[in-house]
Symmetry: C2
Subunit: 254 residues, 2 copies
């Protein structure tokens, strides 16, 4: 039986996140329907991750296999993106597809995830960023970017990130390893890019809220290690809106 891994991008503005929620518009609902329609039989579609309502993806991965052993995906992999894309709405797109081993799991086999959070640092809103970046309402100076970048550097390493997890989430192990975290200017955007072996609930958005507290001079960059050690959500910043958040890349072994 062939199992296929697809990489998709989506504009999450109109969706209640990736995960199926009965009849609410979700990415998974659109994707499942498109895949079943493209192949002509029911498939299991397994996402690499959840994403919250309003969050976007540049490189989300999902595995596809027929529900029944009587069916087989026969479409050549290079034709799969177009075949599914014509069944998808314009704000979801299959970028590529490849064959994977039947025991491959898009979620458990991920060794690294990368997110980027986009902040439009301007007094004047950009009408093309509506829902696609955080409208910060003020400029961020080069010094501000440097301070945010210094603060971000303290996220790197293996830590218990309880202070950067939304309250109410129940999870046993809050330890995660952050591989890289940087803040840089990209045109009229300030972008926070972070990669880790995994993320806690709302972790990136709370990191961003905290970095913006640093930008405003409310807390110094070197207060981050203390906030992490405190394991206390109240010491970190606010949870930034989903608008600016993009799941950028999933890395698998091999």
């Amino acid at each position: 039986m062939r199992k296929v891994l697809i990489t998709i991008a989506y504009n999450g503005r109109g969706y209640h996140g990736y995960q199926l929620q009965e009849d609410l518009p979700t990415i998974a609902l659109m994707l499942n329907n498109a895949v079943n329609s493209a192949f002509g039989f029911e498939c299991n579609v397994t996402g690499c991750s959840r994403t919250d309502a309003g969050v976007h993806a540049l490189g989300f991965c999902a595995g596809i296999e027929p529900k029944s052993r009587d069916n087989e995906i026969t479409v050549p992999v290079e034709k799969i993106p177009i075949a599914i894309n014509i069944k998808l709405p314009p704000d979801i797109s299959v970028l590529s597809a490849k064959e994977v081993n039947v025991d491959f799991h898009p979620r458990y086999d991920a060794i690294k995830k990368e997110y980027v959070y986009k902040i439009h640092a301007s007094r004047i809103k950009n009408p093309f960023y509506d829902g696609l970046a955080l409208e910060y309402g003020r400029e961020i100076s080069d010094t501000g970017v440097e301070k945010m970048n210094e603060a971000a550097s303290y996220f790197v390493g293996t830590h218990h990130f309880d202070a950067f997890m939304s309250q109410g989430s129940s999870i046993d192990d809050t330890e995660r390893t952050v591989y890289s975290a940087k803040v840089e200017r990209n045109g009229d955007l300030v972008e926070f890019t972070v990669s880790a072996n995994g993320f806690l609930y709302n972790m990136v958005r709370i990191m961003v809220g905290t970095l913006l507290q640093v930008e405003r001079g409310k807390i110094p960059p070197n207060s981050i290690p203390g906030i992490i050690e405190s394991k206390n959500r109240e010491n970190a910043g606010f949870t930034a809106k989903p608008d600016g958040l993009y799941l950028k890349k999933i890395v698998y072994n091999s």
Copy 2:
């Protein structure tokens, strides 16, 4: 009496064009309401141009003056963008404002208009370009871009552009002077940028449809002068969708 000229940008995807159409959602309706609400009295808002449903603007200009001589715009010009922006939906933004003479007219005093048309030249659609670029469904080679650019160069000059005007429009003088016209690659987009002293109805979109006929090898680049001379709409290409069209800039004397 103070008269103010504002420059606005908008994502036209959700609107029935600029021009007021009773209660339909139009840019003018949103802008008039926001201006009246920001200043606290009724104003006349005069646009520099019409734009069709689904067309966008990077630098549309509009003049604002109180309807009644009893009212006066007292907000300092540098505070006007923010004052109006908080009354506008996120997909319309006032970029700047300046004072102009009372006899200034945003439409009749324009000496040059510039449009850009964005084509996403890829087999795979981009979910973030939905409504914001023409999804061409195929790549355009460097040779293709060169051919389109050569064809575009023939638009430059003073011509009767009847062949590039939608049928049904009634206009006396179809002569327009095109100052510049070029096609170039910009990342994953191919962009056609054209400036003129004015444009006929659908002129840019028919130019794009014709340039895409050139890209596909249906007509040679040097057939453009003959098409212009024919003054026959049937000899030009299709009318490209509004999605990719942006009013980029309006130039005024002085």
